[in-house]
Symmetry: C2
Subunit: 303 residues, 2 copies
């Protein structure tokens, strides 16, 4: 920095260089200074403990895109998978990974967007695996992770760095390291976009055995998605409170934070029902635990 | 063809051209003749009624490869996804789609191969969807379609044509149109390769409601895989005979073609057990049919 400071007065007004030479010198110095500053910033933040971007991020994401529109959901329409990747990359490339906003992902979200069929929106908190299994088996619901946007990005990791373009494969901040990090901003933006599109009957699956509350504070469902649901577009909400097979049965319909959620839905004037351990999902939990007492198949008459 | 026939005598021994010019002319005529012949062959077979190769086949397959080794099964080891695609393409590119052999796929299979963990091999016939769901949920088994080889190709379609390299996106023969077609040869080769690697306890899931027999003649399991299982590598076989929830209960353990299979296993001196409607899988069938009588959850004491 001494070198730069000692030359700070060099410029167009300085009699020691011609106008053209001065322009070049100034430009060179500005670039040098910028590079130094960004390197210093990168270094200062090179202490990220989170794992770096997923290896082959581009190939995985474009491949998932082609696979999605070609074999999983051709109803998503014509999409240019290369353009989608470019728009996604631009959101965080050459940026401080703690300074990526939800707005930065808008071009990607707009390009990748497609309709969610009525009655197929499903929101979850602390029950991710179960939702995906239920979605795959029944094909009755389409969680965010089953849309093009979610399927291109699910289970991947990414961030950039100020000093160079492209993904940083070495290290990234973790979700909680900073507010506007490249991954949390993405999932917030994608979740908001997904919730805005919900219409008809909507499902919410929460975990009644969760260590925190089922309707957890700071969850994306509570903080982002719920606020976007209104009784103009959403005609009914099915709440499913699923305990783990082995318990504990910490919260249920009408109890604890679930009761809080129910109050909010009443205030929003959205009709709803609440079911503890909704049977089709309980069946799914029983696949891996079929010897459990609560998983016995009975032959009692139909209720 | 008249043009070619009338010039057939043109050659090195013909006094009307110099040696060098004759060589060139001959080469040109040979190329022309080859192109005509292959085009004629292609045209003769351009009546395929099967759908053509899946659009973006290369991008989908290489993307699935990167996704598999990066996020699904890193234990598959280092694989060069571009080389895998090239080896796969070479098996059928520029060939009559009815003249592709199992042997043609060997380079691809060798490159993509990885270990199957002991006790995780599972064979199926007429119960594909159920196997995949069970595999995804329990992660206790690894069917062919969950290996790198199977996941790169599952649900895709491909063939080539004699007259030009690359996939034919217009039309392909169907499975039964000819014996050595590019897809059936692939699945036979991949199934044989998969069966050879089975070791420890092995599972076989058959459909007890199948229109044909559960242990169907001409099925890949019966014709290809079963022959590769021996009591040196396979210590036990679990047979699961799953009826559809709504029936019919056409075949069961000890009955019909299942009894035939049991006899073969006895002859091969492989120990086995047979279960009708194995409960964990029945639970899975109940997810979408939880109101069905046979899907009621009881509270009776554990048996």
């Amino acid at each position: 920095m001494f070198f730069l400071n000692s030359l700070q007065l060099t410029g167009k007004g300085n009699p020691r260089c011609t106008a053209a030479a001065c322009d070049l010198l100034l430009l060179g110095l500005m670039l040098l200074s910028h590079t130094e500053r960004t390197l210093a910033k990168d270094n200062a933040k090179a202490v990220w403990k989170g794992k770096g971007s997923t290896a082959n991020l581009k190939e995985i994401m474009t491949g998932r895109c082609f696979n999605y529109i070609g074999t999983i959901n051709p109803n998503a329409g014509n999409k240019d998978c290369s353009k989608l990747w470019e728009a996604f990359l631009r959101a965080f490339s050459s940026k401080d990974p703690c300074n990526v906003t939800q707005e930065d992902y808008k071009p990607f979200l707009d390009l990748a967007d497609h309709d969610i069929p009525a009655n197929q929106s499903i929101f979850w908190s602390q029950s991710k695996g179960l939702i995906f299994q239920y979605s795959d088996i029944t094909e009755k619901v389409m969680p965010l992770e089953s849309t093009l946007i979610g399927s291109m990005t699910d289970n991947l990791n990414w961030c950039g760095k100020l000093s160079s373009p492209g993904p940083n494969f070495e290290a990234c901040p973790e979700w909680k390291d900073c507010k506007n990090n490249s991954i949390s901003s993405f999932w917030k933006a994608a979740s908001e976009n997904y919730a805005k599109k919900a219409h008809g009957e909507v499902t919410v699956m929460l975990n009644g055995s969760a260590r925190d509350n089922a309707f957890r504070k700071n969850s994306i469902f509570r903080e982002i998605e719920l606020g976007k649901l209104d009784n103009k577009h959403v005609t009914f909400i099915h709440l499913w409170i699923m305990d783990n097979i082995d318990g504990p049965d910490k919260e249920s319909c009408g109890v604890g934070s679930v009761a809080e959620l129910e109050t909010i839905l009443k205030e929003k004037k959205i009709k709803y029902s609440c079911k503890d351990n909704y049977r089709p999902v309980r069946m799914l939990q029983c696949v891996g635990k079929s010897d459990h007492q609560s998983c016995k198949l009975g032959t009692e008459p139909k209720v």
